[in-house]
């Protein structure tokens, strides 16, 4: 099905852009008339994925993060967050609750669990050395 609208954003992996990224996607998603709760779930999931790219994908270096969001008829929203960072060796392990390779003082290991709880579908593609793409889907229910 062809998307009825879409946006694409590319920005450097600086943590100052985390707020911009989640607010931009939330503003786009608001076209589908989501509830306040749905908007806050979308913002949180995007924030987790972008933070993963910054902290784990690029670690000490910087690189581009590209977000593509598409809205389809019926309220289906897809969001992909793509980096060209170092990639994930074991995706299954990375998605386990409380697993983190990050600094425990700063990271909780709950990023993927939060994405899975707040979104309807989460898919991760990654290859060592060439980057990671996280694809999120949420169905925004029509309200009477």
């Amino acid at each position: 099905m062809k998307a009825s609208n879409h946006i694409r954003l590319t920005f450097p992996s600086r943590s100052a852009n985390e707020g911009f990224a989640r607010i931009a996607v939330a503003a786009f998603a608001s076209q589908a008339d989501p509830t306040v709760e749905e908007i806050s779930e979308i913002k949180t999931a995007v924030s987790e994925a972008v933070t993963n790219s910054i902290v784990h994908g690029y670690k000490e270096s910087f690189g581009p993060i590209t977000i593509t969001a598409r809205l389809y008829e019926g309220g289906r929203l897809t969001i992909t967050i793509k980096d060209k960072g170092e990639g994930i060796d074991d995706i299954k392990q990375a998605m386990e609750p409380l697993f983190t390779t990050g600094n425990e003082e700063e990271r909780s290991g709950m990023g993927f669990t939060i994405m899975e709880t707040f979104m309807d579908k989460v898919k991760v593609h990654s290859r060592r050395g060439s980057g990671t793409t996280v694809a999120l889907t949420k169905y925004i229910k029509a309200r009477p």
């Binding site: 707020g19 924030s47 933070t51 700063e106 990271r107």
Partner: protein, 104 residues
Amino acid sequence: MNLKFIQNYNELEVHLQGEIDHHCAAAVAKTIDFKIRRHRPILLIMDFGGVSFMDSSGLAIVMGRRKLMDSIDGSVEVRHLCNPAKKIFEMAQLDRYVTVRKEV
């Protein structure tokens, strides 16, 4: 993110205001730790009433402070959690590690 501290005897209260994400997490942790080390409270109260957005960075902030409070034989209480922060704390079963005050 804005922090407001109130000290009463052995308690240190911190009111978090604004958005909590990875961008501000390190600075927030550092500021709270500085106050803990200076006042050495028995109880650290973290009030989330003014938080408009929180991702998993908020969990790491609470867990890290709990670790520091543990090291000085103190404890942590969190207050005024509302969604989505509340949902995130429930997911991580935070109430196993800190006191979550029930709101009436």
